[in-house]
């Protein structure tokens, strides 16, 4: 079984004067998983970031701000730049000059936006005042007169008549509300305000200006149009800047981030006055090459010392110093199993000391998926879609889904062809006996050769709905038993590796005996109940053996788990029966397919004894309907078969042995997307 890769702990000691160079070397080794230094274990404390870091951080901040303003992001299409070029540009002050250039345009844009907002506000006030026949300059400039202007919710004209020596202009519409302008003596201002306040009055500021309001409105509109035109040209400038600088911005963002990340390494290691000490994990098989590489690059200024190769026994973990306890998990899987690591990681990262379930998932997930689909007609689109997905996508989520679809599709085709012998819910072979027996042979009016039926199970395949239901259910239960047993055995192996045989036997051996006992017991019980076998001979022995094994298993397990062991007994039956979903979902898909076929063929050719082909119109409609309905079954198939296959791994299999909670192996290395290394540099650096 695949355990995570064996890891060794090393200590790297070097002179402080060449630390920066050493950090470059650590990154180029791509294998060092750094162990954070904790102050207090010795006299060394953590170091300070490299001196170049503060300038780089400042620049990165500027770059990010510019990216945000220009709308340049991770998904923006940009060219790739060589590392030397971008470094030259950064060190020659390109960030600062670009910022100046961009800020100039952005300032202009902000200024325009502000003026547009102001003018819009003015226009709004003017629109309100437009219904009052008073020129703008008349609203202000009085000594003994007060002017109150604003909107009202109810008509105040009657109430305003009570004010002596005043002039009130009110324009009111029932639904839209109205506007009132009141000219009163200064001493009456408060009274006028209190009258107005009863009518839902909100004061507005009268814009400055001369002449009639309508003229001012025209002026404002002209001004706005002018500003919008200017804004448009500035937006074009911004877009031009975006196009001009996007590559530089993305590349310098990446380069500066890398520089800062490297510069922060001293914060994680012990640095003294003249030297530094770094603890780290490396894959055991890479230790020699890493040590050789570091020493060849830094010569006498570095010393790499091997500390330990951590075994899988938990004793070693307990004895280790606190910060060396947890070992990072580096999965040790082949090309295909790697794609299934994502499924494992959905639950947790495996511990260093336990079996990585990805290999089991790689085998069983597509198998179960394929069994549940079990139909050539649905399998082929799955294979095509999966292969296409694997070819084009690099995102790990999509890759995981594409892998399941591809391999699941292959299994589905195998099951569909050899085992079930059907495509799109119809058997290949058989007589045309609608509605229950709709076959390709009958539909196409052909007779397939003898050898064709010879390669299928039972000559024409297993029918999911009909006589073979019992057999399918039994088969799923047997598959379940094997699957669960694998889970228990993995659990046993895990414990044996982490402790010893005795522990493993007590913790998982009891379970295995209990499980086997229950299986044998239930088997003989079903023989008696369903096949009415008498309680004698084989059945009796099996029943007794099963019972004894169960009791023994419960006794052993209860020493570890206590009374819970008995309570888990029905759980075992539940776990096994849970696999009947393999048959049940296959049946439900087949049932839907059969119903849809019945609808389509019933509609276009009737359900007679012989196939009668309809006119071309009906045929086209029928085929379209046929395609649509089967697309529904197919889509539901992804969801139900995919999720249930995954569930059987997560819930039934992995709970038997998988603990998780490991830490992921994350070596110091640089991932470049927008910047590339030219060959000359690649030899020396990451």
């Amino acid at each position: 079984m695949s355990l995570p890769e064996s890891m060794s702990r090393i200590v790297v000691v070097g002179t402080k004067s060449r630390m920066e160079e050493a950090i470059e070397a650590f990154y180029s080794a791509k294998a060092l998983h750094l162990i954070d230094h904790t102050t207090g274990t010795d006299d060394m404390s953590i170091g300070a970031p490299l001196p170049t870091n503060s300038k780089a951080s400042e620049r990165l901040l500027k770059v990010r701000a510019m990216e945000k303003e220009l709308g340049v992001g991770k998904t923006t299409e940009t060219a790739r730049v060589s590392v030397e070029e971008i470094r030259d540009q950064i060190s020659s002050g390109s960030v600062e000059s670009t910022e100046a250039e961009i800020l100039k345009v952005l300032d202009a844009r902000n200024d325009l936006n502000q003026r547009i907002t102001e003018l819009n506000a003015k226009k709004k006030s003017l629109e309100i005042l437009a219904t009052i026949p008073v020129d703008l300059e008349l609203y202000s400039g009085y000594k003994s007169l007060a002017v109150i202007v604003g909107t009202v919710k109810e008509d105040p004209s009657e109430a305003l008549k009570s004010l002596a020596d005043s002039e009130a202009f009110v324009s009111f519409k029932k639904k839209a509300g109205g506007v009132a302008a009141v000219f009163v003596k200064t001493e009456d201002k408060d009274r006028a305000a209190s009258i107005l306040s009863e009518y839902g009055f909100t004061e507005i500021a009268v814009p400055e200006g001369k002449g009639p309001v309508s003229e001012a409105l025209l002026l404002a509109d002209e001004g706005l149009a002018d500003l919008y035109a200017k804004l448009e040209s500035v937006e074009k400038e911004v877009e031009a800047l975006r196009m001009k600088h996007k590559t530089f911005l993305r590349a310098s963002d990446e380069e500066l981030s890398i520089e800062i990340e490297k510069g922060e390494v001293p914060l994680r290691i012990a640095v003294g006055e003249y030297s530094y000490i770094m603890d780290s994990w490396v894959p055991t098989n890479k230790f020699q090459s890493v040590a050789a590489e570091l020493e060849s690059r830094l010569g006498n200024d570095i010393h790499v010392e091997f500390e330990e190769t951590r075994g899988r026994n938990l004793h070693e973990e307990e004895e280790a110093e606190e910060r060396f306890k947890k070992v990072p998990t580096k999965s040790n899987n082949g090309v295909i199993a790697k794609e299934f690591e994502y499924a494992t990681s959905l639950v947790s990262t495996p511990k260093y000391q336990e079996i990585d379930p990805s290999v089991l998932i790689m085998f069983f997930l597509p198998l179960f998926f394929g069994f549940m689909i079990g139909d050539c007609g649905y399998a082929i689109p799955f294979i095509i879609l999966g292969a296409y997905g694997l070819k084009v996508t690099h995102h790990k989520d999509w890759r995981a889904i594409a892998t399941v679809l591809f391999f699941g599709g292959i299994w589905a085709f195998m099951f569909g062809f050899f085992f079930f012998g059907e495509a799109l819910g119809m058997h290949f072979i058989g007589h045309w006996e609608p509605p229950l027996n709709i076959t390709w042979e009958g539909l196409l009016g052909i007779h397939l050769p003898e050898w064709f039926s010879g390669i299928m199970i039972d000559d024409h395949g297993i029918s999911k709905l009909g006589i073979h239901v019992g057999m399918l259910l039994k088969l799923s239960v047997y598959v379940g038993i094997v699957h669960l047993l694998i889970g228990y055995v993995c659990g046993y192996l895990n414990i044996r590796r982490q402790h010893d045989n005795k522990h493993a036997f007590m913790e998982k051996g009891g379970w295995i005996i209990m499980f086997t006992g229950m299986v044998v017991f239930c088997y003989s019980l079903t023989q008696m109940l369903f096949d009415s076998a008498p309680l004698e001979g084989m059945v009796m022995y099996l029943l007794a053996a099963g019972l004894v094994m169960t009791v023994v298993g419960v006794v052993i397990t209860s020493r570890v788990e206590g009374i819970m062991a008995i309570l888990e007994l029905p759980g075992i039956v539940g776990n096994i029966l849970s696999y009947t979903r393999l048959a049940a979902i296959g049946m439900s898909k087949a049932g839907m397919a059969m119903a849809f076929n019945y609808i389509v063929f019933g509609m276009i050719m009737g359900m007679g004894e012989t196939v009668v082909w309809p006119g071309i119109g009906f045929l086209v409609i029928g085929l379209l309907l046929f395609a649509f309905l089967h697309l529904v079954v197919w889509t539901l198939g992804i969801l139900s078969a995919g999720l249930h296959a995954l569930r059987l791994q997560f819930v039934e299999l992995m709970t038997k042995f998988f603990e998780g909670g490991g830490i992921r192996y994350e070596p110091l290395k640089v991932k470049r997307v927008k910047t590339i290394l030219t060959q000359a540099k690649a030899d020396k650096e990451v």
């Binding site: 990681s345 639950v347 239901v469 019992g470 539940g574 849970s578 995954l646 569930r647 819930v651």
Partner: protein, 77 residues
């Protein structure tokens, strides 16, 4: 349409229907609470999808039992 078959098989069919229907209801009621909580938890922290899914589908076993009983009723009895 005349009713065919005997009363016994009719009762079996009713029983099968009840077994699937009632367990389906039960599983649904149980999953409703778990599912709502699981979706909330996944929104907070997408890395726990697997664990959330394990809890989410636990009650589903009930309906599998119902289905098994129904199928046994129809095909075995």
């Amino acid at each position: 349409m005349a009713i065919e078959g005997d009363v016994g098989s009719g009762l079996i069919a009713i029983g099968a229907g009840l077994a699937v229907g009632l367990t389906g209801l039960g599983a649904g009621m149980a999953e409703k609470d778990v599912g709502a909580a699981a979706v909330g938890a996944i929104t907070e922290d997408p890395t726990i999808f697997g664990k959330a899914m394990i809890f989410m589908v636990l009650p589903e076993t009930i309906v599998i039992f119902g289905l098994v009983i129904a199928i046994m009723g129809i095909f075995v009895m």
